[in-house]
């Protein structure tokens, strides 16, 4: 077995891993190893041919490929060691990674710090408990995206999309442009999951109807999908009897959510947050296992790739600090509490005495006008007015100032005007 020893090992070369590897080099780590199971860098961005990426970071609208390419070009010039076609099979709590590839066999990688950047996976038809037949023609949006955008094949002629998250909306437009008739998008929740912009540009513009509070209850078709049954749902998201309708189609596309891919993290003994389904992180995005960091969608499902890259950079700086001995091995933490209207906050805890942190949160419900507050031990750390908040859109902000030993409560209070 080949043994390799590095300062920082990054698992996964999507946007989070690319940014983390680069930042680790920039921050002075000598040997930075980036391992990627695919034959090329970029991760899922390589199948995101649509534009809308990078507005925050690059100030222009790029496609996913362009955004990835910008980082890939930098990584290739940065001295980051890249191992493609290499799959991490195990990460231990002692920061040893076992990974294999065709050319090198099994690798035992000893790392000063490990940055987990494995991304997420899609929820499936089974996971949302769609009953009925199990024919060909039931695919996740990501799989359809890969077939259409990377491989150049179409998996259907008439599609129904379940889920109005951005991936579902983007695929509605993409399939339409490729000649697949998109019959409708169904969303179980009373509000759309994706950005208004995407609803306008991907659905309205192509006259694709969006049905809210409606879900697919059944797939029909023994060999290939012939139709799906859809039904309106009540407040508890349960189908309302008598509202069922049958919609003819040969493809059901599922855009029903993403789940952080934390199997390796679990193996390393990393504590997970049941709300984000990602590791419990601190202000430098270190997990509960010293020296093991996490960033990008494995940490929490982000909405913008710009934030994904940012999280990679935060983790990388933390990792470099860790190997330099700048981080306490057993830090004292204060929790970050999700208060009023806040679904979750990442990171979930901060080190005593740290000089602030970048926080990411999602709200529980849409709010037109609101005030974000961070309080700790009766002290107001910050206060900020916000407008047009919605659960699909993450809120990112910097919490400045030294953190004491009292919990930090993050709340968003609605401002009502008459």
């Amino acid at each position: 077995m080949k043994r390799v020893s590095v300062d920082v090992a990054v698992v996964g070369a999507g946007p989070a891993g690319l940014a983390a590897a680069l930042e680790a080099r920039r921050s002075g780590a000598k040997r930075v190893l980036l391992i990627e199971r695919d034959a090329e860098l970029g991760g899922i961005l390589q199948q995101c041919i649509h534009d809308g990426f990078g507005l925050h970071r690059f100030g222009r609208r790029m496609s996913g490929n362009q955004y990835a390419q910008a980082f890939i070009d930098e990584v290739e010039a940065s001295g980051v060691e890249v191992r493609l076609g290499t799959m991490a099979l195990e990460v231990t709590g002692a920061r040893v990674i076992y990974a294999c590839s065709k050319s090198e066999g099994m690798l035992e990688i000893e790392a000063g710090a490990v940055i987990l950047a494995m991304g997420c996976r899609e929820r499936t038809a089974n996971q949302v408990l769609i009953c009925g037949d199990r024919p060909a023609g039931v695919l996740t949006a990501g799989a359809v995206q890969r077939y259409v955008n990377m491989e150049g094949y179409l998996p259907g002629s008439r599609a129904v999309i379940l889920g109005s998250g951005d991936i579902g909306l983007i695929m509605a437009r993409r399939m339409t442009l490729e000649g697949i008739e998109v019959k409708a998008v169904y969303e179980v929740m009373p509000a759309p999951g994706g950005l208004t912009r995407n609803i306008v540009q991907c659905l309205d513009e192509f006259n694709i109807p969006l049905h809210l509070s409606t879900t697919v209850t059944r797939v029909n078709g023994r060999k290939r999908v012939e139709s799906v049954a859809v039904a309106r749902v009540d407040k508890n998201l349960k189908p309302i009897p008598g509202t069922e309708e049958t919609v003819g189609c040969d493809l059901l596309v599922l855009a029903v959510g993403l789940i952080p891919e934390n199997e390796l993290s679990r193996g390393a003994g990393v504590a997970l947050d049941p709300r984000t389904k990602g590791p419990v992180l601190d202000d430098v995005f270190m997990t509960s296992v010293p020296g093991v960091f996490a960033c990008g969608n494995v940490a929490v499902v982000f909405d913008l790739v710009d934030y994904v890259s940012q999280s990679g950079e935060i983790a990388a700086r933390g990792a470099v600090d860790f190997i330099a001995g700048g981080l306490c091995r057993q830090p004292q933490y204060v929790p970050v509490e999700a208060g009023e209207n806040v679904n979750f906050v990442v990171p979930q805890r901060l080190r005593h005495g740290c000089a602030g942190a970048r926080l990411f949160l999602r709200v529980k419900k849409p709010l037109r006008e609101a005030v974000l507050t961070c309080e700790s031990g009766g002290r107001m750390l910050m206060q900020k007015s916000l407008r047009h908040l919605a659960p699909p859109e993450m809120i990112a902000f910097d919490l400045a100032g030294r953190i004491g030993d009292a919990p930090v409560a993050v709340s968003i209070r609605e401002v009502t005007r008459e």
Binding site: L89, R121, G132, A136, Y153
Partner: protein
């Protein structure tokens, strides 16, 4: 009892039905007429089968408002006859489920030419595939039945099968326990039945011994509350399709041919003896036809002129949970509650299964049990899923489901196996109504059929001869996920294809997929690759690996990507190329 009296009795018991009965010399009762609904149709069949003098029931009742779909055998037969004779064999086995594959493997030791014809595109596609993989000890089967005999015998023979065929068999043992003293009677009843059936190692144990056998009971605090427990050390676990595959591959190694996508549409009978089958692909002539057609065994038997039983579908929904949801017990351990006992008494044939696990470590829930009219209806319903999930303990959550599916068990009305040389058509052997515990009984079923055929052959002056080159051994192919890091390293060095992980959830390599594609009974669809390698069986359900598996299959099999199917003809994953691409590749 005479037919007239039977009809009177049944009409009285089911006033909504109008039925006639006919009883032949063999004790086969045929019921015709109309009844109120499907449920009643099944109930009448069951009631009739319990009447004295009735060997089995042919249920030709129609149920109001229920149309029972039938295969268009005439068209398939015409197609097959037009193709003419495509093969001549000594033995044709109809159906490549656990029974058909078991029989094929057993008979492969003789100097016979054997052809297995299968309607689906792979082995194990019927009841076998959608089975919970329990190798039942044989305590739950009514004493004195063929089922009981073959269940116990089959269970015992599994060790030999697992050793020779190298599939995973885990003798996990099973325990039923009660925490209320009166319910102990139910366990004592099971114990006595187990003893009568000859179940090996069965014991009634106390709380202390129960906790020794199942450490999980001490951990969850139930152990000290146990009043009595029934311990069945012979309970085993397998992946049923892996067993069928191992059998099929060993059979194929020994010269057995498999003909897939070949629905049997006719049985050729000449002078009272079977002479072959007409499949949709052509005629295969043979001296013996062994009917292991599962849900269609009754229809195949009728084609051979022997209408002796009716099979109806008993659907079961199974849910597989994420490996992260660890089973609480090492054994198959179940607390018997009053509800359980009542369920068992009320639905002796149909209560379905509870919570267990697969040999790979996934918790498996179900199957449920529901009698349905359409043998091909493998759809799931929320109610059946709930039934399957409802039998677990509180630790089981819907959020852990990674997959659920349905399978149809082939049930007759006598609820016993039918294994015999047909008294009507010589050379035609029925292996019918093989449902639970058909998987456990499979080795014994295969032996019994072997006995029937070889005895007949000996009697008719053409005794079977053992092949000198018969090889009973089949080795499993490398399973990367079960190896140590050093072994994995060595394997990749030997063949770099093992260094590429195709399915990330189940850790399946390209090498394993290539091995499967080059195996003795090669897979023809993405799902068939999945059953052989586990690629796509994990939590992402192929979201990641399906495009990659598809690409490998297209490359290896020399097919266009648009020709690779999910599960046989008509299930192509990709329909056409993007706009602007040339047709084809």
């Amino acid at each position: 009892m005479e037919a007239k009296e039977i009809a009177r009795k049944l009409n009285k018991a089911f006033p909504d039905a109008a039925l006639e009965a006919e009883l032949d010399a063999r004790g086969i009762l045929t019921i015709r007429g109309e009844c109120a609904g499907w449920e009643e149709l099944v109930k009448i069949g069951r009631r009739a089968a319990k009447l004295p003098g009735v060997k089995n029931v042919v249920n030709e009742l129609s149920a109001k408002g229920v149309s029972v779909p039938r295969k268009d055998y005439a068209a398939l037969r015409a197609k097959g006859e037009a193709a003419g004779t495509i093969d001549e064999a000594d033995v044709v086995i109809v159906g490549a489920g656990i029974s058909g594959c078991g029989v094929a493997r057993e008979l492969a030791k003789y100097r016979w030419k054997i052809v297995v014809v299968e309607a689906a595109d792979d082995v194990a596609m019927g009841a076998t595939k959608a089975n919970n993989g329990n190798i039942h000890p044989g305590h739950a089967v009514k004493s004195g039945t063929l089922k009981a005999k073959l269940n116990v015998e089959g269970n015992r023979l599994y060790d030999k099968w697992a050793e020779e065929l190298d599939f995973e068999l885990q003798r996990c043992g099973a325990m039923g326990f009660v925490t209320s003293r009166p319910l102990g009677a139910a366990l004592k009843y099971s114990y006595r039945q187990a003893k009568r059936n000859g179940v090996a190692g069965v014991e009634l144990v106390d709380a202390e011994r129960a906790m020794e056998l199942e450490p999980g009971l001490a951990k969850n605090g139930l152990g000290p509350r146990i009043k009595l427990a029934l311990w069945l050390p012979s309970m085993g676990l397998v992946e049923p399709y892996q067993v069928a595959l191992a059998l099929a591959e060993n059979a194929a190694q020994n010269g057995v041919r498999f003909l897939f996508n070949a629905t049997v549409a006719g049985v050729i009978v000449e002078n009272g003896a079977v002479a072959g089958v007409v499949t949709e692909k052509g005629v295969v002539r043979a001296r013996y036809v062994v009917n292991c057609a599962g849900l269609y065994a009754d229809e195949i038997s009728a084609m051979a002129g022997d209408k002796g039983y009716t099979i109806h579908a008993r659907r079961g929904v199974i849910a597989i949970l994420d490996k992260a949801a660890q089973p609480e017990y090492r054994t198959l351990c179940e607390r018997i509650t009053f509800r359980e006992v009542r369920r068992a008494l009320e639905h002796s044939e149909t209560k379905g299964g509870g919570m267990c696990r697969t040999p790979e470590g996934n918790v498996l829930m179900g199957p449920s049990a529901l009698e349905i009219p359409d043998k091909e209806d493998l759809s799931t319903t929320p109610e059946e899923l709930q039934y399957a999930m409802g039998r677990g303990d509180d630790t089981v959550s819907y959020a852990n489901i990674i997959r659920f599916f349905a399978g149809n068990r082939p049930a007759d009305y006598k609820e016993d196996f039918i294994i015999e040389m047909s008294p009507v058509t010589d050379g035609f052997v029925n292996v019918g109504a093989i449902q639970s515990p058909g998987l456990a009984a499979a080795p014994a079923v295969a032996r019994m059929v072997e006995g029937i055929v070889t005895e007949h052959a000996a009697k008719t002056g053409r005794p079977a001869e053992i092949r000198a080159d018969w090889n009973p051994l089949r080795r499993r192919r490398p399973e990367f996920r079960h190896m140590s890091r050093a072994e994995q390293d060595a394997l990749i060095r030997e063949n770099p294809a093992y260094g590429k992980i195709v399915c990330r959830c189940e850790c399946v390599t390209e090498g394993e997929i290539l091995d499967a594609l080059r195996s003795p009974v090669p897979p023809g669809s993405v799902d068939a690759v999945k059953r052989r390698t586990r690629a796509g069986m994990g939590r992402c359900q192929g979201g990641f690996c399906q495009p990659r598996v598809l690409e490998i299959m297209a490359r290896e099999l020399g097919r266009k990507r648009t020709e690779v199917t999910l599960k046989g003809e008509g299930t192509e994953v990709l329909l056409r190329r993007n706009r602007g691409e040339e047709a084809g590749e």
